[in-house]
């Protein structure tokens, strides 16, 4: 009996280790640091297999906020980044951390809040105006507070409105887009989100889109290669990924990705 148990356990362990061998592609893999919005929206799940199919390169995505993604890239722990904060991306290159920034695609940010809209922002033309009304009403507002691309954009809108948000109504969460939406839904707070994450988000409760279409809410995604002069990164493979993203094939793949009947990202490489 004991022997059977031992045999069984051994077999189980061997099966386990076999079941885990990662199917490495013949040409190896690259690691890219990207944002939670691209991961949570399911875009990568859709386009990465197409890239791997045509090049034989596997892509491993670490999805974090834009700020952290750029730090991971600067430390050489990723081979390329795909993020959405153009000013921070240019700084990343100026700091010598990255080379060759390319614009890939865009979507937009939206201001979301409880359907009852206690501050009354629905119908305002611009996000800055809406933020002004929220601040005046001291209605609960959930901020990402995590130095992500969305957080940077939110801060720039507060600056446009001439407000330094503070007080018990302004809640800095320090979490990713999805987690922040969960929290906002739980406390009926206003929040700014990217449209991709919103479309794929299930736990909306009372939340709805209240302000959209302000040109200032434009959300540009860019790809930057990690500077090969600093670290031993897989520059050539990453370059192929970079080129594929702006190629006709890559752009078509991005444009074709739909979720719940809606296009999440519009390709705009030039």
């Amino acid at each position: 009996m004991i022997r059977t148990i031992i045999r069984f356990s051994t077999a189980l362990l061997i099966a386990l280790s076999l079941s885990l061998s990662v199917n490495a592609q013949e040409r190896g893999f690259i690691t890219i640091a990207s944002t939670t919005s691209t991961e949570n929206s399911g875009l990568f799940e859709d386009i990465l297999p197409q890239f791997t199919e045509s090049t034989g390169i596997e892509v491993r995505v670490v999805a974090v906020g834009t700020g952290q993604a750029l730090r991971i890239g600067c430390n050489g722990d990723a081979d390329a980044v795909l993020v959405h904060a153009p000013a921070a991306e240019r700084q990343f290159i100026a700091d010598g951390c990255g080379v060759d920034r390319r614009e890939i695609m865009y979507n937009d940010f939206i201001v979301i809040g409880p359907g009852s809209d206690p501050a009354g922002i629905e119908g305002t033309e611009t996000a800055a105006e809406a933020f002004q009304i929220i601040a005046d009403a001291e209605a609960p507002f959930a901020s990402r507070g995590d130095d992500s691309g969305t957080h940077k954009k939110e801060m720039s809108i507060w600056a446009d409105a001439g407000i330094e948000p503070a007080g018990s109504w302004y809640r800095e969460l320090g979490s990713g887009m999805g987690a922040a939406l969960n929290t906002a839904a739980g406390m009926d707070a206003y929040i700014m989100a990217d449209r991709g994450t919103w479309i794929s988000f299930d736990n909306r409760q009372n939340l709805e889109i209240l302000v959209e279409g302000d040109p200032n809410l434009f959300n540009q995604y860019g790809s930057v290669l990690v500077n090969p002069a600093n670290h031993d990164v897989k520059h050539e493979l990453a370059q192929e990924w970079h080129d594929w993203l702006v190629s006709e094939e890559g752009q078509a793949a991005i444009g074709a990705y739909r979720l719940r009947g809606q296009q999440l990202f519009t390709p705009n490489a030039n």
Partner: protein, 232 residues
């Protein structure tokens, strides 16, 4: 809630390849971590129990305190060690399952070592005279006492395993939750929660709990069986 359990059941029945991969990786990472941590923690715990040396009380207090080491802190330390700009950067281990095994070992080691010290210490009190009269040195007594306490020590290993499979902060930082490479049960649950897909998240949670239950039941069964057969 019921939806979650229904979809958990459906997921298990469907034998979804991605789910199997995630469950398999969770088990492999955590079992490896328990193995490597115990390799060191069992003798260290026993040695601290048996030998007197300067600063021994300090070591015991530190071991006990480290049982509460916050996973995020452990994750951060290992991240800084393994990052390309860190001392072990050239090994390229960040964002691999190996990194996750390292960080979980770090979390498990104090638990197994501290519990082993307690168990061996108690046994030593009990068998001290017997062992010394047989002429066994303290060093020679270590394997005997570990073998003698094996049934209690299994509980220590299970405590370590539980800690490893349950935590999310550390493996998220050093593993990166990469689909198909470093995504384990807890990080998958966190991801689905972030997508607002609470039903699927809870379903994954139910599967994780079931697995933990099965493993604990298995260990308990083996323990009981051998206890009855060989006496404890």
């Amino acid at each position: 809630m019921l939806d979650a359990f229904a979809s958990a059941f459906a997921l298990i029945i469907s034998g979804d390849a991605e789910l199997l991969g995630i469950v398999g990786l969770s088990l492999r990472v955590s079992l490896s971590a328990v193995f490597f941590a115990s390799l060191l923690a069992l003798p260290v715990g026993a040695a601290v129990a048996l030998f007197s040396f300067p600063g021994r009380s300090g070591v015991i207090v530190v071991l006990n305190a480290l049982m509460g080491l916050p996973p995020v802190v452990a994750g951060l330390i290992v991240y800084l060690l393994l990052s390309r700009v860190g001392p072990l950067g050239p090994l390229g281990l960040l964002f691999t399952p190996t990194a996750m095994v390292i960080v979980q070992s770090l979390l498990i080691f104090p638990i197994v070592a501290a519990l082993t010290r307690q168990i061996v210490s108690d046994l030593w009190e009990e068998y001290r005279e017997q062992l010394t009269s047989l002429g066994a040195s303290r060093l020679r007594a270590i394997p005997t006492l570990l073998w003698d306490g094996r049934f209690s020590l299994i509980t220590a290993l299970l405590a370590g395993f539980g800690r490893a499979t349950a935590e999310v902060g550390a493996v998220l930082i050093v593993g990166g939750n990469i689909a198909g490479v470093t995504r384990v049960m807890t990080t998958a649950i966190a991801l689905e929660t972030n997508k607002g897909n609470l039903t699927l998240a809870l379903a994954l949670g139910a599967i994780l709990m079931t697995l933990t239950l099965l493993i604990n039941g298995f260990a308990y069964g083996v323990g009981e069986f051998s206890r009855r057969r060989y006496g404890a």
